[in-house]
Symmetry: C2
Subunit: 496 residues, 2 copies
């Protein structure tokens, strides 16, 4: 067993290192790469992907797994080694189904499409993006075919982001949520308050963003925060976590973006060091990941206790805009549903409807029911039904997100599932920390961070998403707590 | 032939892509990586290096070369394919001598040592750096042993930076230069002019730096300029060239740093596109590379015609400091030898003595004649002999350069060889462009850039350094023109 385990781990370490190298390339591509760098970057990423894929699907990995599985089955199932063998087997079998060539072609097409999307979004020109998107979708569907027979093509896509999750589970949750969210928006939606319109100096927003996430637990000897078009977080190693954000003088949404990305970053930063350089390091479930970005952004960052602590800092930073605005009015303003076009700037309640729109359209694209050419019309029609606004240009509509350009079909639902999960996890944390609100009101986040680290972040990807959710939330994904939380918040705000 | 050539090229493309990926990792490590990121980065670089080394030394490459060499020998020797086969054979044979494990160990040690050096330099604490340097040197000498029997261990080291160059050639050039440089410094050295002491606003320096190198031919759709401790240039691809620099409010040396790194960048940017993603892309001779950084920095950037064009811009940017200083006084000041501690901030004439010091010490370290522990004393003693100053702390002495931390023993001489070569190449360019001075005086650099691109940059690494030097300079490295240039400049400045 010993030599086989050592060999397997050595092989996996190499694969994990190379995957993280891919993260460096992708980060630089979005953050710093000059305009004409995309071509070389795409081929480099494709080369790297091919190597990772070939190494991951090497016959020898299968032999080693065959040798090790009888031994692993005698271990307590929670041990790192037992988890490693199980996870590697699943990953191996899954990747063996996809030809390396197709994987590399997809990687190159993604890198190309990303550059095209950036430009098309700037120009609000869907026609310029359409061929790239058609190609990405076509390659993605070719990859889905490698898993035939399947029950639902969309299940194959979700599996990349949340292993084992099925579209019928997603639909069940979303079908409960959609009418309830629509009702909440109808009942509580209003105009954006004037005092939220800025101007808010961008460098002051940057300083406040850093101040908040430092309090959350971001340690700048291991983190960076850079600027990008579409904010994201990516780990280069346990001691090197990259967050990105963007600033807009016209609003303070950047504070929530920073909290959101910090949530992702803290999750990755909190993996047990014993899992470092193994496939179990970090969280690979997008729903769980989003549960943490949403927890820090919304459960903490849009709560009254949080602003009791931090609002004075924001007021003294922007005295002209907010000096005369009472805490309660600010808190109501950042929680009020306001119908608007951009998902990442949406309030917490409308946000779910933005996600549901994308989920519905993705399912139709994948089933062949909707052609890419017809996507902008379909978007605009359904957007008006769900959010009551007419989309004036594609930049504010179908071109706003990078996900499809990146080939991430099946990712969007995890945003809303993450929101749902965030409340389930929050309730457990609040049980364990009876004075959680008081701590937040004092700007103290260490106990919350510690609880999340111990009960969730440290686990990395030792277990399947469903197993992890069971452990941390005490049951499967369930929309009840999330709806109760939203209803409670809006009820309290209306009563105030 | 066709399938063998296609297979060889495919294998080499993968290797070149991975090597460039290593460039991205190294750039980020020096430019943006947070403090605790070094550990993961070191292992990632080591993993990448191992893979590159294994691929480069794969038996199959040897077989393909065996198959292709008879055919290649029938090609005109200047064709890309003939050059590719020759260069690949040399690279293959060389790399086969070094075990992959040793190569990876060295890469990891370099990454570790770099972080230790950054800190030790800040603290001026050589003792903290010493064990890392000992380890680097030891590994480097182990690598040298793979090439036994050799005439001189130092030759093996130089070969990594200038294939085929030998230490006896270097010594011959340096032994001519050292007494002449010493004499020039003694005759012309003076104090630094007060008006060069600043303060010069750092963001204004940045704007001027960009303005100058844009005029040289830097195209911002393909280049970036970032900040780092030790400036460098690295290509990520033909369309993605990264320059780094640093600013100091106390002087305007940053303008020369930007020109220097732009020279490196333009060289890489100018490779023939036909060489892209082959081992022949870009220049792999450090002396030739330095000839271009020095050409743009010194032959162009310290010349009177250049400042006739650009001095008014600098004066209007810094009217308090330079508004009342005549052009001639500024030009004399930026060319005057001033004895000082830091190589990268040295004037053109003292610079050579800084390099000769390092060359002498390196040779002694490599031959075992000098222990790492005794390096600071040896540095300080010889520095005083050559430059007449007593080194007050190691930060200003032995700890100032990153090269040894990076394992780059054998690199330093190429700086001075580059200066020597820069004048030989300049003379050829000036023959071809009779009104070169007048063009520079008008801020026009396109014809010079075009000549260099056509006669040097486009060649990439098709030929050995000696062959390339022969082509572009019309003969081997020869110190005469460089000395004549320095003497002429100082003579004119004294006469003025």
């Amino acid at each position: 067993v010993e030599p086989a385990l050592a060999e397997l781990k050595e092989r996996l370490t190499e694969i994990v290192d190379l995957a993280r190298v891919g993260g460096v390339l992708a980060w630089d591509m979005e953050v710093y790469m000059p305009q004409t760098g995309g071509d070389a970057r795409g081929t480099q990423l494709a080369t790297l992907t091919s190597i990772v894929h070939r190494k991951l699907t090497d016959d020898r990995i299968g032999e080693l797994l065959d040798d090790l599985e009888p031994w692993a089955s005698t271990l307590p199932p929670d041990t790192d080694d037992a988890c490693l063998i199980r996870a590697t087997r699943r990953e191996f079998e899954k990747n063996r189904k996809i030809p390396t060539k197709l994987e590399a072609e997809f990687t190159k097409a993604r890198a190309d499409a990303f550059g095209i999307w950036v430009k098309a979004r700037e120009d609000s020109d869907f026609a310029a993006f359409r061929p790239a998107l058609e190609r990405i979708l076509d390659l993605r569907l070719q990859m889905v075919e490698c898993f035939a027979p399947y029950e639902d093509a969309y299940d194959v896509l979700i599996d990349d982001f949340d292993e084992g999750l099925r579209s019928e589970d997603v639909s069940r949750v979303f079908e409960t949520l959609q009418p309830e969210l629509t009702a909440l928006v109808e009942e509580h939606a209003g105009e954006r308050d004037d005092f939220l319109r800025g101007p808010f100096d961008v460098s002051a927003q940057d300083a406040l963003s850093r101040e908040i996430i430092t309090a959350f637990g971001v340690d700048w000897s291991s983190f960076r925060l850079d600027l990008t078009v579409h904010p994201f977080a990516v780990p280069f190693g346990l001691g090197d976590i990259r967050l990105t954000t963007r600033y807009d003088e016209d609003d303070v949404n950047s504070l929530f973006t920073a909290m959101h990305e910090a949530g992702h970053g803290l999750y990755e930063f909190g993996s047990s060091p014993a899992l470092d350089r193994t496939p179990l390091v970090g969280c690979r479930s997008s729903s769980l990941h989003e549960s943490q970005s949403r927890l820090w952004e919304n459960l903490v960052g849009r709560s009254l206790p949080f602003w009791r602590w931090f609002y004075p800092r924001v007021q003294e930073t922007f005295p002209d805009r907010l000096g005369g605005v009472p805490l309660e009015a600010f808190h109501a303003a950042i929680n009020r549903p306001v119908r608007s076009f951009i998902r990442v700037d949406a309030d917490e309640t409308c946000y779910g409807l933005h996600v549901i729109l994308r989920y519905e359209l993705e399912r139709r694209l994948v089933s062949g029911d909707l052609a890419v050419a017809d996507l902008p019309d379909a978007w605009n029609t359904r957007f008006e039904e769900l959010l009551g606004l007419e989309v004036p240009e594609d930049r504010l509509g179908v071109l706003q997100d990078s996900h499809w350009a990146s080939g991430y079909f099946g990712y969007f639902p995890t945003y809303l599932l993450g929101s749902v999960l965030s409340v389930q996890i929050w309730e457990r944390a609040a049980e364990a920390i009876p004075d959680l609100s008081e701590q937040i009101e004092r700007g103290e986040f260490a106990e919350l961070h510690g609880w999340l680290r111990e009960n969730l972040y440290a686990l990395g990807s030792k277990f399947t998403p469903a197993e992890t959710i069971e452990r941390v939330a005490g049951g499967p994904i369930e929309p009840g707590p999330y709806l109760a939380y939203l209803r409670g918040k809006h009820g309290a705000l209306s009563a105030a």
